[in-house]
Symmetry: C2
Subunit: 220 residues, 2 copies
DNA sequence: TTCAAAGTGTAACATTTGTTACACCTGAGA
DNA sequence: TCTCAGGTGTAACAAATGTTACACTTTGAA
Protein backbone atom coordinates (compact mmCIF):
# COMPACT_ATOMS: atom_id res chain seq x y z
CA UNK A 1 0.00 0.00 0.00
CA UNK A 2 1.16 3.46 -0.80
CA UNK A 3 2.05 5.47 2.23
CA UNK A 4 2.67 9.10 1.51
CA UNK A 5 2.07 11.21 4.55
CA UNK A 6 2.40 9.33 7.84
CA UNK A 7 -0.17 11.46 9.58
CA UNK A 8 -2.85 10.44 7.18
CA UNK A 9 -2.14 6.77 6.92
CA UNK A 10 -5.17 5.77 8.87
CA UNK A 11 -7.42 7.47 6.40
CA UNK A 12 -5.54 6.06 3.50
CA UNK A 13 -6.04 2.70 5.11
CA UNK A 14 -9.64 2.96 4.12
CA UNK A 15 -9.19 1.93 0.57
CA UNK A 16 -11.26 -0.19 -1.70
CA UNK A 17 -8.22 -2.25 -2.66
CA UNK A 18 -7.65 -3.12 0.94
CA UNK A 19 -8.60 -6.64 1.98
CA UNK A 20 -9.63 -5.18 5.26
CA UNK A 21 -12.11 -2.80 3.65
CA UNK A 22 -15.49 -3.29 5.30
CA UNK A 23 -17.78 -4.87 2.74
CA UNK A 24 -20.99 -3.47 4.10
CA UNK A 25 -19.82 0.12 4.36
CA UNK A 26 -22.09 2.58 2.64
CA UNK A 27 -20.13 5.17 0.78
CA UNK A 28 -20.01 7.03 -2.49
CA UNK A 29 -17.11 8.03 -4.63
CA UNK A 30 -17.44 11.22 -6.61
CA UNK A 31 -15.19 12.35 -9.40
CA UNK A 32 -14.57 15.97 -10.22
CA UNK A 33 -12.90 17.53 -13.21
CA UNK A 34 -10.37 20.29 -13.01
CA UNK A 35 -11.58 23.60 -11.55
CA UNK A 36 -14.91 22.33 -10.29
CA UNK A 37 -16.37 23.84 -7.15
CA UNK A 38 -16.65 20.86 -4.80
CA UNK A 39 -17.94 22.58 -1.71
CA UNK A 40 -19.07 26.10 -1.17
CA UNK A 41 -18.60 28.06 2.00
CA UNK A 42 -21.62 27.36 4.19
CA UNK A 43 -22.44 23.98 2.68
CA UNK A 44 -23.65 21.40 5.14
CA UNK A 45 -20.94 18.94 6.11
CA UNK A 46 -22.76 15.71 6.91
CA UNK A 47 -20.25 13.18 5.65
CA UNK A 48 -16.59 12.38 6.02
CA UNK A 49 -14.92 13.49 2.82
CA UNK A 50 -11.63 11.86 1.99
CA UNK A 51 -9.61 13.13 -0.91
CA UNK A 52 -8.37 9.90 -2.50
CA UNK A 53 -6.51 11.26 -5.50
CA UNK A 54 -5.73 14.61 -7.02
CA UNK A 55 -5.49 17.93 -5.21
CA UNK A 56 -7.84 20.69 -4.20
CA UNK A 57 -7.60 24.33 -3.23
CA UNK A 58 -9.12 25.69 -0.03
CA UNK A 59 -8.55 28.41 2.52
CA UNK A 60 -8.38 26.38 5.68
CA UNK A 61 -5.52 26.24 8.09
CA UNK A 62 -3.09 23.40 7.55
CA UNK A 63 -0.53 21.28 9.30
CA UNK A 64 2.28 22.98 7.42
CA UNK A 65 1.65 26.12 9.41
CA UNK A 66 0.23 28.24 6.64
CA UNK A 67 -2.63 30.47 7.59
CA UNK A 68 -5.72 31.31 5.61
CA UNK A 69 -5.06 32.35 2.07
CA UNK A 70 -5.21 29.81 -0.66
CA UNK A 71 -4.24 26.37 0.48
CA UNK A 72 -3.53 23.28 -1.57
CA UNK A 73 -4.46 19.88 -0.21
CA UNK A 74 -3.07 16.75 -1.82
CA UNK A 75 -4.43 13.22 -1.57
CA UNK A 76 -4.70 11.27 0.59
CA UNK A 77 -6.29 13.51 3.18
CA UNK A 78 -9.69 14.10 4.72
CA UNK A 79 -11.36 17.42 4.01
CA UNK A 80 -12.29 19.38 7.12
CA UNK A 81 -12.89 16.32 9.33
CA UNK A 82 -13.29 18.66 12.27
CA UNK A 83 -16.55 19.96 10.91
CA UNK A 84 -18.29 16.62 10.61
CA UNK A 85 -19.16 16.42 14.30
CA UNK A 86 -19.23 20.07 15.25
CA UNK A 87 -22.48 21.79 16.15
CA UNK A 88 -21.98 24.26 13.35
CA UNK A 89 -21.25 21.64 10.72
CA UNK A 90 -20.78 23.83 7.69
CA UNK A 91 -17.76 24.25 5.46
CA UNK A 92 -15.85 27.37 6.41
CA UNK A 93 -14.41 27.92 2.94
CA UNK A 94 -14.77 27.03 -0.69
CA UNK A 95 -13.16 23.86 -1.96
CA UNK A 96 -12.14 23.72 -5.62
CA UNK A 97 -10.46 20.95 -7.58
CA UNK A 98 -7.09 21.75 -9.07
CA UNK A 99 -7.02 18.65 -11.27
CA UNK A 100 -9.06 15.49 -11.67
CA UNK A 101 -10.14 14.59 -8.19
CA UNK A 102 -11.61 11.54 -6.51
CA UNK A 103 -13.47 11.96 -3.24
CA UNK A 104 -14.65 9.16 -0.98
CA UNK A 105 -17.74 10.19 0.91
CA UNK A 106 -18.89 8.31 4.02
CA UNK A 107 -22.13 9.50 5.63
CA UNK A 108 -21.91 10.60 9.23
CA UNK A 109 -24.05 7.69 10.46
CA UNK A 110 -21.77 5.28 8.73
CA UNK A 111 -18.70 6.90 10.25
CA UNK A 112 -20.21 6.42 13.67
CA UNK A 113 -21.04 2.81 12.91
CA UNK A 114 -17.54 2.24 11.54
CA UNK A 115 -16.02 3.66 14.66
CA UNK A 116 -18.08 1.59 17.05
CA UNK A 117 -17.44 -1.58 15.11
CA UNK A 118 -13.74 -0.97 14.56
CA UNK A 119 -11.98 0.38 17.62
CA UNK A 120 -8.71 0.74 15.72
CA UNK A 121 -10.33 3.10 13.26
CA UNK A 122 -11.92 5.03 16.09
CA UNK A 123 -8.63 5.41 17.87
CA UNK A 124 -6.94 6.58 14.71
CA UNK A 125 -9.68 9.10 14.12
CA UNK A 126 -9.35 10.36 17.68
CA UNK A 127 -5.59 10.54 17.42
CA UNK A 128 -5.85 12.54 14.27
CA UNK A 129 -8.20 15.05 15.86
CA UNK A 130 -6.05 15.23 18.96
CA UNK A 131 -2.91 15.88 16.94
CA UNK A 132 -4.65 18.58 15.01
CA UNK A 133 -5.87 20.27 18.16
CA UNK A 134 -2.37 20.13 19.54
CA UNK A 135 -0.98 21.61 16.38
CA UNK A 136 -3.50 24.43 16.44
CA UNK A 137 -2.80 25.14 20.10
CA UNK A 138 0.90 25.34 19.40
CA UNK A 139 0.40 27.59 16.43
CA UNK A 140 -1.89 29.81 18.44
CA UNK A 141 0.67 30.10 21.20
CA UNK A 142 3.27 31.16 18.69
CA UNK A 143 1.01 33.76 17.07
CA UNK A 144 -0.13 35.16 20.38
CA UNK A 145 3.43 36.22 21.17
CA UNK A 146 3.56 39.79 19.99
CA UNK A 147 7.23 40.49 19.42
CA UNK A 148 9.41 38.86 16.81
CA UNK A 149 12.12 38.14 19.35
CA UNK A 150 9.51 36.42 21.49
CA UNK A 151 8.46 34.19 18.61
CA UNK A 152 12.06 33.32 17.89
CA UNK A 153 12.65 32.53 21.56
CA UNK A 154 9.55 30.30 21.73
CA UNK A 155 10.60 28.47 18.61
CA UNK A 156 14.24 27.97 19.56
CA UNK A 157 13.43 26.86 23.09
CA UNK A 158 11.11 24.27 21.60
CA UNK A 159 13.80 23.02 19.25
CA UNK A 160 16.75 23.05 21.63
CA UNK A 161 16.65 20.33 24.24
CA UNK A 162 19.53 21.72 26.21
CA UNK A 163 21.20 25.04 26.65
CA UNK A 164 24.43 25.17 24.71
CA UNK A 165 23.43 22.39 22.36
CA UNK A 166 23.77 23.13 18.67
CA UNK A 167 21.12 22.08 16.20
CA UNK A 168 20.52 22.58 12.51
CA UNK A 169 17.39 24.16 11.09
CA UNK A 170 16.23 22.91 7.74
CA UNK A 171 14.43 26.15 6.98
CA UNK A 172 15.99 29.25 5.53
CA UNK A 173 15.22 32.75 6.78
CA UNK A 174 12.47 33.33 4.27
CA UNK A 175 10.62 30.18 5.30
CA UNK A 176 11.13 30.99 8.95
CA UNK A 177 9.76 34.49 8.43
CA UNK A 178 6.67 33.04 6.71
CA UNK A 179 6.23 30.60 9.55
CA UNK A 180 6.28 33.44 12.05
CA UNK A 181 4.15 35.63 9.84
CA UNK A 182 6.69 38.47 9.73
CA UNK A 183 8.78 40.20 7.09
CA UNK A 184 12.12 38.62 6.24
CA UNK A 185 14.35 41.67 6.92
CA UNK A 186 12.59 42.19 10.24
CA UNK A 187 13.39 38.61 11.21
CA UNK A 188 17.01 39.06 10.19
CA UNK A 189 17.26 42.23 12.24
CA UNK A 190 15.84 40.54 15.33
CA UNK A 191 18.11 37.54 14.89
CA UNK A 192 21.25 39.65 14.59
CA UNK A 193 20.22 41.69 17.63
CA UNK A 194 19.76 38.49 19.63
CA UNK A 195 23.21 37.35 18.54
CA UNK A 196 24.68 40.68 19.63
CA UNK A 197 22.93 40.38 22.97
CA UNK A 198 24.60 37.02 23.49
CA UNK A 199 21.33 35.07 23.64
CA UNK A 200 22.07 32.80 20.71
CA UNK A 201 24.71 32.15 18.12
CA UNK A 202 24.19 31.36 14.47
CA UNK A 203 26.62 29.87 12.00
CA UNK A 204 25.05 29.15 8.66
CA UNK A 205 21.95 27.20 9.61
CA UNK A 206 23.35 25.97 12.91
CA UNK A 207 21.72 27.60 15.90
CA UNK A 208 22.94 27.47 19.48
CA UNK A 209 21.03 28.61 22.55
CA UNK A 210 23.53 30.41 24.75
CA UNK A 211 21.19 31.90 27.35
CA UNK A 212 17.95 29.96 27.79
CA UNK A 213 16.88 32.06 30.74
CA UNK A 214 17.25 35.24 28.74
CA UNK A 215 15.18 33.73 25.96
CA UNK A 216 12.40 32.82 28.36
CA UNK A 217 12.16 36.42 29.48
CA UNK A 218 11.22 37.40 25.95
CA UNK A 219 8.06 35.28 25.99
CA UNK A 220 6.16 37.96 27.96
CA UNK B 1 -28.90 17.56 37.35
CA UNK B 2 -26.89 20.74 37.48
CA UNK B 3 -26.15 22.16 34.08
CA UNK B 4 -23.72 25.00 34.18
CA UNK B 5 -21.95 25.34 30.89
CA UNK B 6 -23.88 23.86 27.96
CA UNK B 7 -20.74 22.91 26.10
CA UNK B 8 -19.65 20.62 28.87
CA UNK B 9 -22.90 18.95 29.65
CA UNK B 10 -21.91 15.68 28.11
CA UNK B 11 -18.99 15.38 30.46
CA UNK B 12 -21.08 16.38 33.37
CA UNK B 13 -23.45 13.65 32.33
CA UNK B 14 -20.88 11.22 33.55
CA UNK B 15 -21.72 11.48 37.20
CA UNK B 16 -21.88 8.97 39.94
CA UNK B 17 -25.31 10.19 40.95
CA UNK B 18 -26.60 9.51 37.48
CA UNK B 19 -28.77 6.41 37.11
CA UNK B 20 -27.20 6.00 33.74
CA UNK B 21 -23.69 5.83 35.18
CA UNK B 22 -22.04 2.65 33.90
CA UNK B 23 -21.65 0.31 36.86
CA UNK B 24 -18.62 -1.52 35.57
CA UNK B 25 -16.62 1.58 34.65
CA UNK B 26 -13.16 1.64 36.12
CA UNK B 27 -12.29 5.03 37.40
CA UNK B 28 -10.69 6.80 40.30
CA UNK B 29 -11.61 10.00 42.02
CA UNK B 30 -8.82 12.05 43.50
CA UNK B 31 -9.18 14.91 45.89
CA UNK B 32 -6.72 17.76 46.07
CA UNK B 33 -6.36 20.48 48.65
CA UNK B 34 -5.89 24.11 47.82
CA UNK B 35 -2.70 25.01 45.96
CA UNK B 36 -1.65 21.45 45.17
CA UNK B 37 0.22 20.79 41.94
CA UNK B 38 -2.06 18.34 40.13
CA UNK B 39 -0.13 17.93 36.92
CA UNK B 40 3.24 19.17 35.94
CA UNK B 41 4.20 20.26 32.46
CA UNK B 42 5.43 17.16 30.63
CA UNK B 43 3.47 14.67 32.73
CA UNK B 44 2.08 11.75 30.80
CA UNK B 45 -1.61 12.13 30.04
CA UNK B 46 -2.98 8.60 29.91
CA UNK B 47 -6.44 9.16 31.35
CA UNK B 48 -9.40 11.41 30.82
CA UNK B 49 -9.39 13.90 33.67
CA UNK B 50 -12.67 15.53 34.49
CA UNK B 51 -12.77 18.32 36.98
CA UNK B 52 -15.92 17.52 38.95
CA UNK B 53 -15.83 20.28 41.54
CA UNK B 54 -13.64 23.20 42.44
CA UNK B 55 -11.39 25.15 40.14
CA UNK B 56 -7.83 24.91 38.88
CA UNK B 57 -5.27 27.20 37.34
CA UNK B 58 -3.49 26.37 34.07
CA UNK B 59 -1.95 28.12 31.12
CA UNK B 60 -3.82 26.48 28.26
CA UNK B 61 -5.90 28.23 25.68
CA UNK B 62 -9.58 28.45 26.46
CA UNK B 63 -12.98 28.81 24.91
CA UNK B 64 -13.28 32.35 26.20
CA UNK B 65 -10.60 33.45 23.80
CA UNK B 66 -7.89 34.09 26.30
CA UNK B 67 -4.43 33.09 25.26
CA UNK B 68 -1.73 31.56 27.37
CA UNK B 69 -1.10 33.30 30.64
CA UNK B 70 -2.77 32.04 33.74
CA UNK B 71 -6.10 30.45 33.09
CA UNK B 72 -8.78 29.42 35.54
CA UNK B 73 -10.91 26.35 34.84
CA UNK B 74 -14.07 25.73 36.82
CA UNK B 75 -15.93 22.46 37.23
CA UNK B 76 -17.43 20.70 35.42
CA UNK B 77 -14.87 20.46 32.63
CA UNK B 78 -12.37 17.98 31.30
CA UNK B 79 -8.71 18.86 31.61
CA UNK B 80 -6.84 18.88 28.31
CA UNK B 81 -8.97 16.17 26.66
CA UNK B 82 -7.14 16.85 23.43
CA UNK B 83 -3.97 15.39 24.81
CA UNK B 84 -5.39 12.02 25.76
CA UNK B 85 -5.26 10.63 22.25
CA UNK B 86 -2.49 12.69 20.72
CA UNK B 87 0.84 11.12 19.80
CA UNK B 88 2.62 13.49 22.14
CA UNK B 89 0.34 12.86 25.10
CA UNK B 90 1.93 15.06 27.70
CA UNK B 91 0.50 17.98 29.58
CA UNK B 92 1.62 21.24 28.01
CA UNK B 93 1.37 23.24 31.23
CA UNK B 94 1.20 22.98 34.97
CA UNK B 95 -2.18 22.44 36.60
CA UNK B 96 -2.66 23.71 40.14
CA UNK B 97 -5.72 23.58 42.39
CA UNK B 98 -7.15 26.91 43.46
CA UNK B 99 -9.42 25.41 46.10
CA UNK B 100 -10.52 21.93 47.16
CA UNK B 101 -10.76 19.97 43.95
CA UNK B 102 -12.30 16.68 42.91
CA UNK B 103 -11.03 15.01 39.76
CA UNK B 104 -12.59 12.00 38.06
CA UNK B 105 -9.97 9.97 36.30
CA UNK B 106 -10.90 7.43 33.62
CA UNK B 107 -8.04 5.43 32.09
CA UNK B 108 -7.59 5.71 28.38
CA UNK B 109 -8.55 2.07 27.78
CA UNK B 110 -11.74 2.59 29.69
CA UNK B 111 -12.56 5.70 27.70
CA UNK B 112 -12.20 3.70 24.51
CA UNK B 113 -14.38 0.94 25.90
CA UNK B 114 -16.94 3.47 27.07
CA UNK B 115 -17.08 5.02 23.65
CA UNK B 116 -17.50 1.78 21.78
CA UNK B 117 -20.20 0.61 24.14
CA UNK B 118 -22.06 3.91 24.29
CA UNK B 119 -22.39 5.64 20.94
CA UNK B 120 -24.06 8.65 22.53
CA UNK B 121 -21.03 9.27 24.70
CA UNK B 122 -18.75 8.79 21.72
CA UNK B 123 -20.66 11.28 19.67
CA UNK B 124 -20.61 13.82 22.47
CA UNK B 125 -16.90 13.36 22.87
CA UNK B 126 -16.40 13.83 19.14
CA UNK B 127 -18.64 16.87 19.07
CA UNK B 128 -16.69 18.43 21.88
CA UNK B 129 -13.40 17.92 20.10
CA UNK B 130 -14.86 19.18 16.85
CA UNK B 131 -16.20 22.32 18.48
CA UNK B 132 -12.88 22.96 20.08
CA UNK B 133 -11.03 22.56 16.80
CA UNK B 134 -13.47 24.93 15.19
CA UNK B 135 -12.98 27.44 17.95
CA UNK B 136 -9.21 27.24 17.65
CA UNK B 137 -9.38 27.60 13.87
CA UNK B 138 -11.51 30.70 14.20
CA UNK B 139 -9.25 32.20 16.79
CA UNK B 140 -6.22 31.46 14.64
CA UNK B 141 -7.83 33.12 11.65
CA UNK B 142 -8.47 36.21 13.71
CA UNK B 143 -4.92 36.34 15.05
CA UNK B 144 -3.38 35.74 11.67
CA UNK B 145 -4.87 38.98 10.38
CA UNK B 146 -2.10 41.48 10.89
CA UNK B 147 -3.86 44.83 10.98
CA UNK B 148 -6.31 45.99 13.62
CA UNK B 149 -8.76 47.15 10.98
CA UNK B 150 -8.60 43.69 9.45
CA UNK B 151 -9.42 42.06 12.75
CA UNK B 152 -12.32 44.42 13.27
CA UNK B 153 -13.58 43.71 9.76
CA UNK B 154 -13.35 39.95 10.29
CA UNK B 155 -15.19 40.19 13.57
CA UNK B 156 -17.95 42.51 12.38
CA UNK B 157 -18.56 40.55 9.17
CA UNK B 158 -18.96 37.46 11.32
CA UNK B 159 -21.47 39.19 13.58
CA UNK B 160 -23.49 41.02 10.96
CA UNK B 161 -25.71 38.79 8.89
CA UNK B 162 -26.62 41.50 6.42
CA UNK B 163 -25.15 44.73 5.27
CA UNK B 164 -26.94 47.66 6.83
CA UNK B 165 -28.26 45.63 9.72
CA UNK B 166 -27.63 47.01 13.18
CA UNK B 167 -26.58 44.78 16.03
CA UNK B 168 -25.53 45.30 19.61
CA UNK B 169 -22.22 44.15 21.03
CA UNK B 170 -22.21 43.12 24.64
CA UNK B 171 -18.51 43.90 25.02
CA UNK B 172 -17.01 47.26 25.71
CA UNK B 173 -13.92 48.56 23.94
CA UNK B 174 -11.54 47.27 26.58
CA UNK B 175 -12.87 43.74 26.31
CA UNK B 176 -12.85 43.93 22.54
CA UNK B 177 -9.24 45.11 22.56
CA UNK B 178 -8.27 42.18 24.80
CA UNK B 179 -10.10 39.80 22.49
CA UNK B 180 -8.13 41.12 19.52
CA UNK B 181 -4.92 41.23 21.50
CA UNK B 182 -4.33 44.95 20.85
CA UNK B 183 -4.13 48.09 22.96
CA UNK B 184 -7.37 49.87 23.74
CA UNK B 185 -6.50 53.32 22.33
CA UNK B 186 -5.23 51.65 19.14
CA UNK B 187 -8.57 49.90 18.75
CA UNK B 188 -10.45 53.15 19.34
CA UNK B 189 -8.33 54.91 16.73
CA UNK B 190 -8.95 52.22 14.15
CA UNK B 191 -12.67 52.21 14.89
CA UNK B 192 -13.01 55.95 14.50
CA UNK B 193 -11.02 55.86 11.25
CA UNK B 194 -13.34 53.18 9.93
CA UNK B 195 -16.33 55.32 10.86
CA UNK B 196 -14.76 58.31 9.06
CA UNK B 197 -14.15 56.15 6.01
CA UNK B 198 -17.83 55.26 5.94
CA UNK B 199 -17.27 51.54 6.44
CA UNK B 200 -19.26 51.25 9.64
CA UNK B 201 -21.24 53.37 12.04
CA UNK B 202 -21.24 53.15 15.81
CA UNK B 203 -23.76 54.55 18.24
CA UNK B 204 -23.12 53.53 21.80
CA UNK B 205 -22.67 49.79 21.50
CA UNK B 206 -24.76 49.48 18.35
CA UNK B 207 -22.69 48.67 15.30
CA UNK B 208 -23.83 48.86 11.68
CA UNK B 209 -21.97 47.55 8.67
CA UNK B 210 -22.34 50.17 5.94
CA UNK B 211 -19.91 48.81 3.36
CA UNK B 212 -19.39 45.05 3.59
CA UNK B 213 -17.30 44.97 0.42
CA UNK B 214 -14.95 47.57 1.80
CA UNK B 215 -14.57 45.57 4.99
CA UNK B 216 -13.70 42.43 3.08
CA UNK B 217 -10.85 44.25 1.36
CA UNK B 218 -9.25 44.80 4.75
CA UNK B 219 -8.89 41.07 5.37
CA UNK B 220 -5.80 40.86 3.10
C1' DT C 1 36.50 26.80 -12.09
C1' DT C 2 32.90 29.91 -13.24
C1' DC C 3 28.62 31.73 -13.08
C1' DA C 4 23.94 32.46 -11.86
C1' DA C 5 20.53 31.93 -8.46
C1' DA C 6 19.29 31.77 -3.97
C1' DG C 7 20.15 33.19 0.55
C1' DT C 8 21.79 36.65 3.91
C1' DG C 9 23.08 41.20 6.28
C1' DT C 10 21.91 45.72 6.69
C1' DA C 11 20.62 50.49 6.01
C1' DA C 12 17.09 54.34 5.35
C1' DC C 13 12.71 55.38 5.59
C1' DA C 14 7.45 54.60 6.03
C1' DT C 15 3.76 52.74 8.53
C1' DT C 16 1.47 50.76 12.20
C1' DT C 17 0.77 50.06 16.78
C1' DG C 18 1.74 50.82 21.71
C1' DT C 19 2.09 54.10 25.67
C1' DT C 20 0.76 57.67 28.36
C1' DA C 21 -2.03 61.19 29.48
C1' DC C 22 -6.06 63.71 29.85
C1' DA C 23 -10.77 65.58 28.83
C1' DC C 24 -15.32 64.31 28.19
C1' DC C 25 -19.46 61.59 28.64
C1' DT C 26 -22.73 58.53 30.75
C1' DG C 27 -25.26 55.99 34.12
C1' DA C 28 -26.08 54.14 38.73
C1' DG C 29 -26.40 55.11 43.17
C1' DA C 30 -26.19 58.28 47.42
C1' DT D 1 -29.69 66.36 42.02
C1' DC D 2 -24.84 65.30 42.69
C1' DT D 3 -21.04 62.42 42.40
C1' DC D 4 -18.00 59.15 41.04
C1' DA D 5 -16.48 55.25 38.49
C1' DG D 6 -16.25 53.25 34.28
C1' DG D 7 -16.20 53.90 29.56
C1' DT D 8 -14.87 56.59 25.43
C1' DG D 9 -12.30 59.89 22.16
C1' DT D 10 -8.07 61.66 21.04
C1' DA D 11 -3.51 63.69 20.98
C1' DA D 12 1.71 63.46 21.31
C1' DC D 13 5.23 60.68 21.32
C1' DA D 14 7.87 56.08 21.47
C1' DA D 15 8.73 51.63 19.77
C1' DA D 16 8.30 47.90 16.71
C1' DT D 17 7.79 46.23 12.36
C1' DG D 18 7.27 46.61 7.32
C1' DT D 19 9.21 48.16 2.79
C1' DT D 20 12.57 48.82 -0.43
C1' DA D 21 16.96 48.58 -1.96
C1' DC D 22 21.42 46.89 -2.52
C1' DA D 23 25.83 44.55 -1.58
C1' DC D 24 27.79 40.44 -0.05
C1' DT D 25 27.99 35.26 0.54
C1' DT D 26 26.94 30.62 -0.34
C1' DT D 27 25.56 26.94 -3.24
C1' DG D 28 25.08 24.03 -6.96
C1' DA D 29 25.22 23.05 -11.66
C1' DA D 30 27.39 23.72 -16.20
Amino acid sequence: MKRIDPEWNHFHNINEDDNDFPTDLKYTIRLYKKNELIYRQGDLCDALNILMSGSVKTEMITESGNLMGIEIIKAPRPLAPAFLFSDNNRFPVDVTSLEEVEILRIPKDEVIRLMTSRPDFMQQFLTHNANRTQFLTNRLQLLSIKTIKGKIAHFLLEQANEEGKTFTLNRNQTELADFFGVARPSLARSLSEMVQEGLISIKNKEYTVLNAKGLRELLV
